[in-house]
């Protein structure tokens, strides 16, 4: 009897393991920053190198988004219209990090496609991106009013992801904020 049950059982268990394994995204790793303070930075602004952009707007008692993008990143181009829509329809300000990019190309991008950001820090050598654990743009961090990272989305931001993952967390963070 066991001669038949055992192999069939092992086979069924393997199917379960493979089904779970194959449905996971191997390129998406959970960020160790979740629940921790957003990394501090001081960088020149993309628009004007003499102006400094820091992490302080992320700790200003309001829920914010921190979006990492670059002009060489096709996913960023894909998500850009949705960011523009968020700017029009949502009260959550979007701050951004322009990562490993050319300043001229990035400025041209914002001029042509529109600028959804409240401020953009220019991280030309990618040093600040390392502190944020950035590895695949576009990445979008959700930051609560106290400046803690509460969620990270790797891949273009879509209306679907926004409704399912961001809105409930934003509502929760706003409820908990003083």
């Amino acid at each position: 009897m066991w001669k038949y049950i055992l192999p069939v059982g092992i086979f069924a268990a393997l199917i379960v393991v493979f089904t779970i394994g194959l449905n996971r995204d191997p390129t998406s790793f959970e960020s160790p920053l979740l629940g921790k303070p957003a990394p501090a930075f001081t960088l020149p602004s993309l628009e004007d190198p003499s102006v400094t952009v820091t992490d302080s707007p992320l700790r200003n008692n309001e829920v914010t988004l921190f979006n990492v993008w670059a002009t060489w990143c096709s996913g960023c181009y894909q998500e850009h219209p949705f960011l523009m829509e968020l700017k029009r329809t949502s009260d959550v300000p979007i701050y951004s990090l322009n990562w490993n990019d050319e300043r001229d190309a990035a400025l041209k991008w914002l001029n042509q496609l529109g600028n959804p950001y409240a401020a953009t820090a220019f991280d030309g050598d990618g040093r600040v991106a390392i502190d944020w654990g950035v590895y695949g743009a576009p990445e979008t961090f959700l930051i609560d009013g106290r400046g803690n990272v509460i969620y990270k989305h790797i891949a273009p931001l879509t209306a679907d992801v926004w409704e399912k993952e961001f809105l409930p967390r934003i509502a929760q963070a706003k409820g908990a904020a003083p």
């Binding site: 191997p26 390129t27 790793f29 959970e30 960020s31 160790p32 920053l33 490993n100 050598d125 990618g126 040093r127 991106a129 390392i130 502190d131 944020w132 654990g133 950035v134 590895y135 695949g136």
Partner: protein, 154 residues
């Protein structure tokens, strides 16, 4: 006058030379950080870049990748080694930012126990199966011998 065999040997060794030159060229072109000219620091740097995962390419280390991020991380490792930081300090720095996944050797901790134990567990299962088969075969041989003896008697 060359015979066919020696000609193909020459051809094979030329091909080998070409291949090795190609690999040597690509290896030197990836890492553009300047050597420390200090055997201890150079060894530490070299070990670290071969133990940190290139998060974009998954199955490679930052030593093997031309991706921008890998170059940025090599530069950062180089800077930290130059600052005199230890291997553990640099690995912890990376782990705090990118998570355990950046370590090419998974650390032994509760969520990787199954991973580390798996080879031993599978080896034991294999040994048990082989042991069982050998045990059953041994009984078979005894049965055959006794039937032979019976024939002798007959």
């Amino acid at each position: 006058m060359m015979n066919a065999a020696s000609r193909s040997m020459v051809r094979a060794s030329l091909f080998g030379l070409m291949l090795s030159t190609l690999f040597a060229m690509s290896a030197s072109a990836i890492d553009t950080e300047t050597p420390f000219n200090d055997p201890i620091l150079d060894a530490r740097y070299d070990k670290l870049i071969h133990e940190l995962r290139c998060m974009v390419c998954l199955n490679g280390t930052i030593a093997d990748s031309r991706v921008d991020l890998a170059a940025d991380l090599r530069r950062e490792v180089h800077r930290m080694v130059a600052d005199g930081q230890t291997e553990d300090e640099i690995k912890t720095f990376m782990q705090q930012r990118y998570g355990d996944s950046i370590l090419y050797n998974p650390p032994v901790q509760p969520n990787t126990w199954a991973l580390w134990a798996a080879p031993t567990v599978f080896l034991l299962i294999g040994l048990a199966v082989v042991g069982r088969i050998v045990w059953q075969r041994r009984n078979l041989v005894v049965a055959d011998e006794s039937s032979l003896h019976e024939e002798d008697h007959a």
